[in-house]
Symmetry: C2
Subunit: 345 residues, 2 copies
DNA sequence: TTGTAGGCGTTATCAA
DNA sequence: TTGATAACGCCTACAA
């Protein structure tokens, strides 16, 4: 047996010896090739069992250049929205006989000096990239190597033809804000942006601005803050606004996570939602219908987006043609937190 | 360049040629060996840049038998409790210069016929195993190969000496139930178990039973249900109990997730919490303090447990001695959902 | 400081 | 149906 110390000891060669066949034959039964006599298969299989042999994936990948895994790179946040996304991805991965490996990065993931990301061709046949969790130069790099990739919630730079799956944000945000203005009678509507560089946030803000403009309302810079799609950040922003004495009768929190945290922060400061301040979100997370008050938001087909992205990646890996850009539309969901039921209609 | 088709093309050899040095030298600068002249380093680095070379991890792992990654196998549920756990793990991994790879399995992960788990020695230097997410025979297998592993929230079978990190469940549950009985005056307390085979659930139930016994209360089998630490399951259980007309004035939901879902289900059925039915959980998730009513629960140091487990694994990988079993204690957190503030004291 | 060459464990090609 | 053997891309003695 190779390598007395360390854990990887039993190799295909040991199995071959024990079974009295060649390594080629062992490899064949391991890979379920059908050109092996049943007798030999049996012999090899018992040898595998007796020796406790386990395949060395690194060697296999080196020889084959395929892994049976796909990977996703996400930011290391706890946004429940991610869970739905991962669920969808996992579904189609499993359906296609692939496993999903996840890497949660705390900063933008980057290839530096020839050293690859923790998820790469060595352990993965293709990668799903969430938003801007991977540095642009690295994207370029991998694209140059023709490594199969699909971008999620992010359009590639114009010179890189990487397929992507997107959400129609502007439309949804526009409708949401218009609902706040026209149906609920709000006029001073604050907006919390997502993380810097986030494309979804950008387009939601555009929808917000257009809706205000189209309804003859000014964009007051004082009403523009940041929630980063994150509970603590949202909470801090609310506290800051309240401390400043900012006047606002409604809040578009950017996403549901920030909205829920904002509601709590507002309530803790003694404000009633929606009576004193209306709050709306974006995404329609599972929890949003259950909180008090139930959240008015924009529904996004998150886990379907995950499924679609994974399927595109899988097709890409198989060398099939796919469309570069898939866009999912959204839908307004009116519940209580916007105060619609209180408005005089 | 090797392999004209496929994406992995530029090898260390190409770089060597371009820089006019040997592959050994390229390898040295790639690994930041200091026995290379600055001039040579520069030449190699520009060659790397120009060629867009990226290391082939499979080859590196095959040669080195190490990856710089650790992995964790978790069940594919969205329990927010997992997020805290992963956060803690990621922290210590990063601190030690390791990356964390996550595999979320939908059933118990199993090695079958020599084909390893998606996370293994090929992409990982050691593994964290959550609860019973890995099949026992597979555990045995990997233990036999001396692959570094640490079990989370799970004690190994008696014949396998795999280090583990545990939570003191029984004590916490006992105090929780005693609080319900002695301080809040509840007598018919229902219990929701976690997933089948879950050790945490087992011990929480023991604490529940002991507390009842010590206070002269019987264990009514009708009050024993299943929430699986999962919102939908908890909801279904509540609905079933309500349909049956089960009489209970308090509920220990097993964990916070099930508790929160139970509260919602109870409220939707027109029951007030805690006035009509008290509800308590376990874990003290971040959200639990924010819901209405704020949840009485048992605090578990989840992300610290994650940090500790990761550190143990890292020590194991470095070949250091570690203690087999680490146990974390819990603490009762009294808020509103137990109805303590309503009780006549 | 640099180069040569053998080995890591598997698969695939070519013969037999 | 089976067996030799050359890749796969990298690392590390050992030499120079």
């Amino acid at each position: 047996m190779a390598k007395e110390n360390g854990y990887q000891r039993v190799t295909i060669e040991d199995v071959a010896q024990r079974a009295g066949v060649s390594t080629a034959t062992v490899s064949r039964v391991l890979n379920k090739s059908n050109n092996v006599s049943p007798k030999t298969v049996a012999r090899v299989e018992t040898a595998v069992d007796e020796l406790g042999y386990v395949l060395n994936t690194a060697a296999r990948v080196l020889a084959n250049n395929k892994t049976g895994n796909i990977g996703i790179i996400v930011p290391a946040t706890s946004n429940p929205f991610l869970t739905s996304l991962l669920e969808g991805i996992n579904q189609s991965a499993i359906t296609s006989g692939y496993n999903l490996l996840i890497y949660a990065t705390t900063k933008q993931a980057t290839i530096q000096g020839g050293v690859p990301l923790p998820l790469n061709e060595g352990n993965t046949d293709g990668l799903l990239i969430f938003a801007d969790s991977v540095d642009e130069r690295t994207l370029e790099h991998m694209h140059r190597h023709q490594f199969p990739m699909v971008l999620l919630y992010h359009e590639p730079p114009p010179d890189l033809t990487i397929p992507c799956v997107l959400l129609e944000n502007k439309d949804g945000a526009y409708q949401l804000i218009e609902h706040l203005i026209k149906n609920c009678g709000h006029r001073r509507i604050a907006f919390m942006a997502g993380p810097a560089g986030n494309q979804d946030s950008y387009w939601r803000e555009q929808g917000y601005r257009e809706a205000l403009a189209d309804n003859g309302l000014p964009v007051d810079p004082a009403l523009l803050g940041t929630g980063s799609f994150h509970d603590w950040e949202a909470k801090k922003q609310i506290e800051k606004w309240l401390a400043e004495g900012l006047a606002f009768d409604a809040l578009f929190a950017g996403d549901d996570t920030a909205a829920m945290a904002s509601i709590v922060a507002l309530q803790q400061a003694g404000r009633r939602v929606p009576e004193d301040t209306a709050v709306v979100g974006f995404n329609n997370d599972t929890l949003s219908q259950y909180i008090t008050p139930p959240l008015t938001t924009v529904h996004a087909p998150t886990s379907e987006i995950g499924r679609t992205a994974a399927n595109k990646l899988l097709q890409l890996i198989r060398g099939e043609q796919i469309e570069q850009k898939t866009m999912f539309s959204t839908q307004l969901v009116i519940r209580q937190s916007c105060g619609y039921h209180l408005a005089d209609k």
